[in-house]
Symmetry: C2
Subunit: 505 residues, 2 copies
């Protein structure tokens, strides 16, 4: 019952089919935009809830800012900022009128409005009204919102014109405090990716040409997909006084002098779901980490004779009651009883393709024997992929089982990441030969053809062109730097800085 396309056969097609078969999202009639369906949105809700608690526990408060930003707010940025992003949706009219039987835009706006691609500019404008004295600082806010970037080659979750995200925005009285905030957010993202999504990441700083326009420093978490490509999973920006100066966020400091505030911003998006898919899904479909599975346990009744139904359903009711108050990951367990009028084998494969962590199949024989058949998604097809458990054993072990699955998923992905960072490439020739190969699926336990290279970079501006030509990117400059010297893998010049090179999404 595998998917039509395997990872080995056609990786991009496999990705699309995982999403389709798990019924997570689909392309819509609105060009480049997606419909996030219940199973996909349920995963996003779990991610949101976990991260929302994290940011609130660190004293951030949620707000909501307008999604329309006056065009003039971008004028200054466009003049000064290299790499100013131009692909944005622009609202120019506020009315529809019928002309010659055709509906057309009418009532042209005096000033066009841009649909937010990100909210630094409009939030800085609010901050400038809120902040007068050092007593008003820090300001620590966050919003969960939709944003728009006019992507030309949209892909579900990874790159759609509209997507959902969280954006944190903060203002501080000192550079040090704002930098600490930036690092706090980065560590929060690593925790989210690793502990919640079971997706290991590398942390580091972006090179100059990959920074967010207007940032002093951009930090990031980078994950490795199963084809060895990198996915930028989250970014955190130290903005210095740049946005404070252009929006005039100034305050009277303790020395009674006027000073510009220091700001930060940081975000993760529904793109994380794309990362989860390409970290965990297999040739049978989606595999969802228990921490974010909309349902962690799915119960499929197996009723072979109509007269068994009452006994089976009442036994299932007891099982549900046994599990009701279990708290894996400190949260209430999420159980689904699939009562639909469909045969149990079809149901099993449907939940398998959706990647539900545990499926319990319960029939008359199980009810009579006080047992359940427990199937574990990550062990599908393995000898211990389906086991018969006593009801008592199930009750006692369910929390541990879910937590073990989460752990095992992380460890599998972590091994893949670690064993696919090449550190032995020392010359531009070897580097070029390595990246002449194309990315393909990395089988677990084996080494992939192409993935990440950790090696030297001379930081010369000309390297940007070389990277572009090779279609390679520098993912990050890791925080842990050795004290050695080598040659830049792009130019052959002497270099001391270690960076992570990879193809990317």
């Amino acid at each position: 019952m595998a998917l039509k396309t395997s990872r080995k056969n056609n990786y991009p097609e496999w990705y699309q089919s995982v999403i389709a078969e798990a019924d997570m999202a689909e392309n819509s009639s609105s060009p480049g935009c997606m419909v996030v369906k219940p199973w996909g949105y349920g995963i996003w809700e779990r991610i949101r809830d976990v991260f929302d608690e994290k940011i609130k526990s660190a004293d951030h408060e949620n707000c909501y800012f307008p999604m329309f930003i006056p065009l003039s707010f971008f004028q200054k940025e466009a003049e000064h900022v290299d790499g100013f992003a131009k692909e944005m949706a622009v609202v120019t009219h506020s009315r529809l009128s019928m002309k010659d039987g055709k509906l057309v835009p009418d009532s042209k706006l005096e000033e066009p409005l841009v649909v937010r691609p990100t909210s630094e500019a409009i939030i800085a404008d609010s901050f400038s009204k809120w902040v007068k004295s050092y007593r008003d600082l820090p300001v620590l806010v966050n919003q969960w919102a939709n944003v728009v970037r006019w992507e030309m080659r949209p892909r579900l979750f990874l790159r759609t014109r509209e997507f959902l995200w969280q954006e944190g925005h903060t203002a501080h009285a000192s550079a040090k405090e704002a930098e600490e905030e930036t690092k706090w957010a980065l560590l929060a993202y690593r925790e989210l990716c690793e502990d919640t999504l079971a997706m290991p990441v590398l942390m580091g700083r972006k090179p100059e040409h990959e920074k967010f326009p207007g940032a002093v420093d951009t930090y990031c978490v980078e994950a490795m997909m199963q084809d060895g490509k990198a996915l930028q999973a989250g970014t955190s920006h130290f903005l210095g006084q740049n946005f404070a100066k252009s929006a005039n966020i100034s305050f009277i400091n303790k020395q009674n002098q006027s000073e510009y505030a220091y700001t930060s911003s940081w975000g993760v998006s529904t793109r994380l779901i794309g990362g989860v898919i390409m970290t965990h899904a297999d040739d049978e479909g989606m595999v969802v980490p228990p921490r974010i599975a909309p349902y962690q346990v799915v119960i499929v009744p197996v009723i072979k004779k109509p007269e068994d139904e009452d006994a089976v359903m009442s036994y299932i009711k007891n099982i549900q009651n046994d599990l009701l108050n279990k708290m894996p990951f400190g949260e209430k367990i999420r159980i689904k009883l699939d009562k639909r009028d469909k045969n149990s084998v079809d149901k099993f494969w449907e939940w398998t393709r959706k990647g539900a962590p545990i499926i319990l199949e319960i029939g008359k024989r199980d009810a009579d024997g006080n047992n359940v058949m427990l199937k574990t998604r990550i062990k599908l097809g393995k000898p211990d992929g389906k086991i018969v458990l006593s009801r008592e054993d199930l009750e006692n072990s369910i929390v541990e089982r879910l937590q073990d699955i989460q752990k095992e998923m992380f460890e599998t992905a972590k091994k893949r990441l670690i064993s696919n960072i090449r550190t032995d490439i020392k010359t531009p020739e070897d580097f070029e030969a390595y990246f002449k190969q194309s990315n393909e699926w990395i089988e677990d336990g084996k080494e992939g053809k192409v993935a990440f290279v950790r090696g030297k970079w001379c930081a010369d501006p000309q390297t940007e062109e070389i990277l572009k030509a090779m279609k390679i990117t520098i993912r990050c400059i890791p925080f842990d730097q050795p004290n050695d010297e080598g040659v830049c893998l792009l130019t052959g010049k002497p270099a001391t800085l270690d960076v992570i090179y990879a193809r990317s999404y």
Copy 2:
């Protein structure tokens, strides 16, 4: 420490000042759009969480649909639907370019996109792909999203160009089932308004000319504001097969015949917050029902001498621990300790203006005596508005106190509603004389000059013009109808239908 403007003095100005002084929201530099600040957004989060649980418990699933809707989707609607809303934001370009030093819209779209004013059209398009057989029905989805309506006279929470809402959309195999769903949503809204917001509502059906364009029937919940005007708090639409026909949502029924589905839609928005303000706030500022208060209990330390600080703070820590696991309304209690470097009197007034239900003031004398000073927002200025309680009494009574406040707020508002529905107006002359008076603040326990009239309506189309001229609206046709006859309060013609007349927001 009252607000600058009282309800009696200038009701609209009072409304604005409540919002400003409670720091709930503000106008933004994006024309007609608001910034929802933490205290306002926190209230919205509570409303959302309560209602989200309600809709999920009734088997609805959350999704996310694109906010951009191709213009062509509206063409058919505009041709056929009377009352087609025209004031919408239209995206016509997908790029910004610099021309002669000025940023201008560029890359004109082939087809303009409308920013969703509501999502029936785009969701029906998805439903048409999802629904093939009666086995696929019902489809029960909901989304929490931002929507845009180009309001010309924006007012915070009540009418802003962008606002946040929830929209439920469902498809069913029979009209009966879809109508039941529509009624379910209406009852869910009444429960939300009354039990959660402590805001009593009237339920009913909208007259023909007030229906949602394309609906067979629109049902609504209507609340009475403190100035006797009505606020439409939520609507639920039975759409029949109208949207199913235009989007081709058809299915093979049990008789193996192709049939169009029956759909419903229903929504409530951040407008509810405006309703909460105008139901509960007073001349001292906001009053938040405990059920949706971001903080239900605020602790203000009163430290008169620096050397008392340790003792007071450690005593407060104990109080916090006492209350930690209390569960008013079946949820974890929300307590805020206000540790800011500010004097306690200012803090008290700040939380009073924000409408925190209970403020605990705790100083050295309280710590020594094992007491607290408990101040109840709804009893501000009354003899029992501040009382000294023993720590034990507080612990034992806090849940009850919060629940009592919630109940009392509802009862106060319910009395106001009940006693301000005039049922004794029987002729057009009396009706006209009544509504010649202007709306003003209704003092609790007294009868207002103008509020709601329950009386006859002949349903003649000409009444629409009369209502327009009088600036009166029919809020709803209540479900409970007497079997009597009278004269229409607008035309004097014989009439049997009872309706609710009022001015409205």
